[in-house]
Subunit: 82 residues, 4 copies
């Protein structure tokens, strides 16, 4: 990037602008998601729990069960269960 008025600068500008365009779209989707949560909240659902559910559903079923099992073991060891 020594040649600021040259082709490298143009190339960089192009990359930056592509990124900015994509980030704009991403931000729009994030706003949409917030809106759905807001709507759900208005319908009486607990959005924090909903986020946990979304996270869980994203996980592989095997991994999910392994994690839950391990968490139970740790809980038991700490007296948080039983």
């Amino acid at each position: 990037m020594v040649e600021a008025g040259g082709v490298a600068a143009e190339r960089l500008k192009s990359f930056i602008e592509r990124i900015e365009r994509l980030e704009e779209e991403k931000a729009a989707l994030a706003a949409d998601i917030r809106e759905v949560y807001s709507e759900a909240k208005g319908a009486g659902f607990d959005t924090k729990i909903m986020r946990q559910v979304v996270r869980l559903r994203k996980m592989d079923e095997t991994d999910r069960q392994e994690q839950e099992t391990l968490l139970d073991v740790y809980k038991q060891a700490l007296g948080l269960l039983g």
Copy 2:
């Protein structure tokens, strides 16, 4: 949400699926962005600096005046100016 097999459950499922669909699209855009950075890196650019540039350009749109005020205060209070 007492009636887990009832209409509330259906409504919840609908919200969750809308969110998941939107998050899928968001993840795709995030992947696109990573790819642009990767391409830029292949062209010899420093992606970490690029990220800072993107951040600065975003900041400038919103907080430029605050930042300048801050800079003055900081410089003055720390004796870095006059």
Copy 3:
């Protein structure tokens, strides 16, 4: 803060330095915590689960059970249980 060389500037500088001192100590503790996790990991424990446990123990017992119950309800509605 109009009088940059005056008493207000001195006062500000004092506040800033007190904050920085405290943040230094806070950062040191954060490092200590990371180290304990690292040690636990070396002993074969799963640090991600440990973090969950720490979070759970911080919560009020009543709240914790309510959350778990609600999560189960939502899971059932989504077919993540039973």
Copy 4:
């Protein structure tokens, strides 16, 4: 960790409690910091700007040179300089 009542459980409990003790101290420091900000606010200072100052002073210690390089690249590539 199969032996929840055994030595592994004891070891885990020990780790968790060390972490909790450290986090307690960390939380106390965070409270102290909030209090200093509050005191500064009472003295007429703008705490948001103060936070920015603290952040800048921290950055300057580590990343000042990178930042300056970045600024040049940004200005040049975007035609804000020369």
